[in-house]
Amino acid sequence: MNYNNEMNLSFISRSINESFARAAVSAFAAQLDPTLEELEDIKTAVSEAVTNCIVHAYPDRVDRIYIRARLFEDNTIEIVIRDKGVGISDIDKARAPMFTTGGGERSGMGFTIMESFMDSLKVKSKQGRGTTVIMRKRISMRYAGRIGA
């Protein structure tokens, strides 16, 4: 399907950027005229994925996190969040609720929340090469033809 709009964002893996990443993606998603709840869902999912890059992908160093967001003709937003970190050896295990390698400071519910707040979640990873999370959410149509510029 064709997309109407695209943005690419990258920033360094410092935790202070978690709120910046949420705000930036949310300002872009606003073009689809989402409800407040839809916007909060997107913010929450982005926060989980970005936190994972900071905590798990780059445990001992500061490196770059990449976000691409696209708005599609059917009012869907696709958000791709990518790192070049340690990677995930067993993705199914990682996606299971409560599984965490993060100790007491993490709940192991990040992927579960991304899944339940977005319509779809895809995770690709290669050990030592990095992880890519692809999320999509269709925004309810409240008026017709709002994206047109």
Binding site: E48, T51, S107, S116
Partner: protein
């Protein structure tokens, strides 16, 4: 994020203000642990009414508080939970283990 605590007759109330994400969570966790250790409350109330955002980092804090209160044989209540945070707690099934009171809108 800001943390405000009040103590009254064995009940310790800790109120959060702002955004509770992983960035805010580390200092929040050590602050809460400290407050519990000092006050040794019979009942702990985490008041989320002024949270504008919370992600799974908040769950880790709540689970930690729950374990600590169990050790002290006390109780834990999560109160005034705004819509977004409530959805996070529900997705994680926390409301099936711990008493979570939604905020009245």
């Amino acid at each position: 994020m800001k943390i405000i605590s009040t103590k009254r007759e064995g009940e310790l109330k800790i109120a959060f203000e702002g955004e509770l994400d992983h960035h805010a969570a580390r200092s929040a966790l050590s602050r809460i642990s400290q407050l519990i250790d000092i006050e040794l409350p019979r009942k702990l109330v985490l008041d989320l009414s002024s949270l504008s955002f919370m992600d799974s980092s908040g769950i880790a804090i709540i689970v930690h508080s729950y374990r600590r209160m169990n050790e002290l044989e006390g109780s834990l209540v999560i109160s005034n939970v705004p819509g977004q945070a409530y959805k996070v707690l529900s997705a994680a099934g926390i409301n099936r283990i711990i008493q979570v009171d939604k905020a009245l809108v």
